[in-house]
């Protein structure tokens, strides 16, 4: 766990259904995970904003062995690295789709859900292809 106010602010966002990102007011760089300073230019003048929730799958896998009992009922499930529209990449899971509906480059949309032992985690669903 963390006693960081920055981490707490991110966590509060999740409870409210918001994925909160930091934008540097000096160089405009958007970063995730949240930090005390801009990881591009070092400025500490960062502003929080709420992500659009749109992203694309950078890579994925199907987790078939649960790491612990908390995940035993969830396997098999798709874990993915998602490139957010705003720039940063984050780890997450893709829910409500079978693995064969998932591919690199697939558009996904943010949602929040209980996952493992944690309440209201950022997760993603596949955006249905347009006909």
């Amino acid at each position: 766990m963390s006693n960081s106010a920055i981490d707490a602010h991110f966590r509060d966002g999740c409870e409210q259904g918001q994925l909160r990102l930091q934008r540097c007011t000096a160089c405009e760089y958007v970063q995730f995970y949240p930090r005390v300073a801009c990881s591009a230019c070092g400025s500490d003048q960062l502003k929080w904003f709420v992500a659009s929730g749109q992203g694309k799958i950078a890579s994925y896998t199907v987790v078939r062995l649960p790491i612990s009992q908390q995940f035993a009922d969830l396997v098999p499930y798709v874990a993915a690295l998602v490139d957010l529209q705003e720039g940063p990449r984050m780890m997450s899971v893709i829910v409500d789709s079978s693995p064969d509906q998932v591919c690199v480059g697939q558009a996904v949309r943010l949602a929040f859900r209980q996952w493992g032992s944690a309440e209201q985690q950022p997760i993603f669903t596949v955006v249905a292809p347009q006909n």
């Binding site: 963390s2 896998t61 078939r64 649960p66 790491i67 874990a79 690295l81």
Partner: protein, 391 residues
């Protein structure tokens, strides 16, 4: 700046492995001490002549000040003593530091000993959970990925970007096993085929069980001293020709790219120090926690172009008699993988190969070798180039 000052300055004069695989009656501490004593004996030294000790902590038996505890157990009283922890890359990054310590006079003769007891000293769940704590505690671990899944993300990205196939990853497991068949110490020695790998159960797509390294007990140690002192000792010295590190991230979601690693930088730095190129390398030992790791290391170290790792391994290059025999002891895929000490066995194998002392699996032309280790999730890399002769 290239620190060519370390080139040819130190040599490995002792090396030893403990029994590996499933070793139920020995704790991680006991394995570490056994390895150290065997390596000191192999070097023709008495423990009182050792003035430096480096260890890594053990997951099965963590000790707060590990190296100090090992020195106490051994009853040696070094003037240079530390334990380090950068995951699987620890094994070789620390040799970089040990070489510098010898050159600067901090110590004359350093024992590097590492052991763990992942198989017998922990439950399966404990071992898996401890290792997966490499994920970011707040932003990755919450999704429950075991370590193979983190590496699977890299494997899948390489397939999507370059058309690499599961068969290519499988060939790495097959070639490695072929080497292990000739090593009586290896944990797995039954020949396997590409079909065997592809029909083994999926662990984290696209990785099958046989794409994953073993879970083992075991330890290994080496003795490092100055090139000058090495000449007076009984074994043929194995010289450090070049060494370099590269560190790009800790958590895979923060990697600069998924398909090119900091092995590129560590390799360039090692080759620059040695003044050598890939054409000078007779064989290589590459970190093989999972098969895709080897494929990306081959590309990043320059043995083939980026994206051509699949075709390179499919040519049979890694097998005995191939263009670049890799992991001649059987690697972590087939010999043993006792956690952070994993690539120490690649180092002791390299030393034995360069001494021409490995018996039936000896490579005729072994003069110059490259060994590479990485830790985290393709995070921290160290490349070393070793030779029978100074260069």
């Amino acid at each position: 700046m290239v620190m060519s000052g370390l080139r040819n300055s130190v040599a490995f004069v002792g090396s030893a492995d403990t029994e590996v695989g499933v070793v139920p009656g020995l704790s991680a501490t006991e394995l570490c001490v056994q390895a150290a004593l065997s390596a000191i004996h192999d070097a023709g030294l008495d423990k009182s002549q050792v003035d430096g000790l480096i260890t890594c902590n053990a997951m099965a038996q963590p000790i707060m000040y590990h190296a100090e505890a090992m020195a106490e157990y051994l009853q040696i009283f070094p003037r240079y003593c530390m334990s380090v922890n950068t995951g699987g890359g620890t094994t070789f990054s620390i040799i970089h530091h040990a070489a510098a310590a010898i050159v600067t006079g901090m110590a004359d003769t350093i024992v590097i000993s590492m052991a763990d007891s992942l198989r017998s000293g922990m439950t399966r769940e404990q071992a898996a959970k401890t290792q997966s704590s490499t994920g970011h505690p707040l932003y990755e671990q919450i999704y429950g990925l075991p370590v193979p899944a983190y590496y699977a993300l890299i494997a899948q990205a390489h397939m999507a970007e370059f058309g690499t196939r599961e068969e290519h990853y499988a060939e790495i497991a097959v070639a490695t096993r072929e080497h292990a068949v000739n090593n009586p110490a290896a944990q797995k020695r039954d020949r396997i085929s590409i079909d065997d790998v592809l029909s083994s159960r999926l662990i984290a797509d696209p990785l099958h069980l046989l794409d994953c390294s073993l879970v083992s007990d075991g330890g290994a140690a080496v003795v490092l001293t100055s090139a000058e002192r090495a000449k007076d000792l009984p074994n043929d010295p194995v010289y450090l020709l070049g060494v370099g590190e590269g560190h790009s991230h800790e958590h895979i979601s923060q990697a600069r790219t998924l398909t090119t690693s900091a092995a590129k930088e560590s390799g360039q730095r090692a080759f620059a120090m040695a003044g050598l190129t890939v054409n000078d390398i007779d064989f290589a030992q590459l970190y093989d926690c999972f098969t895709p790791t080897v494929l990306i290391e081959l590309e990043d170290l320059g043995f083939c172009a980026k994206g051509e790792g699949g075709a390179y391994v499919a040519s049979g290059a890694l097998r005995s008699g191939g263009a670049l025999p890799v992991n001649t002891h059987g690697g972590m895929l087939s010999h043993c993988h006792s956690g952070n000490p994993g690539s120490m066995f690649a180092l002791t194998e390299t030393i034995q190969q360069l001494r021409h002392a490995t018996g039936p699996r000896q490579l005729d032309t072994a003069q110059t070798a490259l060994v590479h280790a990485q830790g985290g999730i393709m995070s921290s890399h160290t490349t070393m180039i070793l030779g029978r002769e100074p260069c």
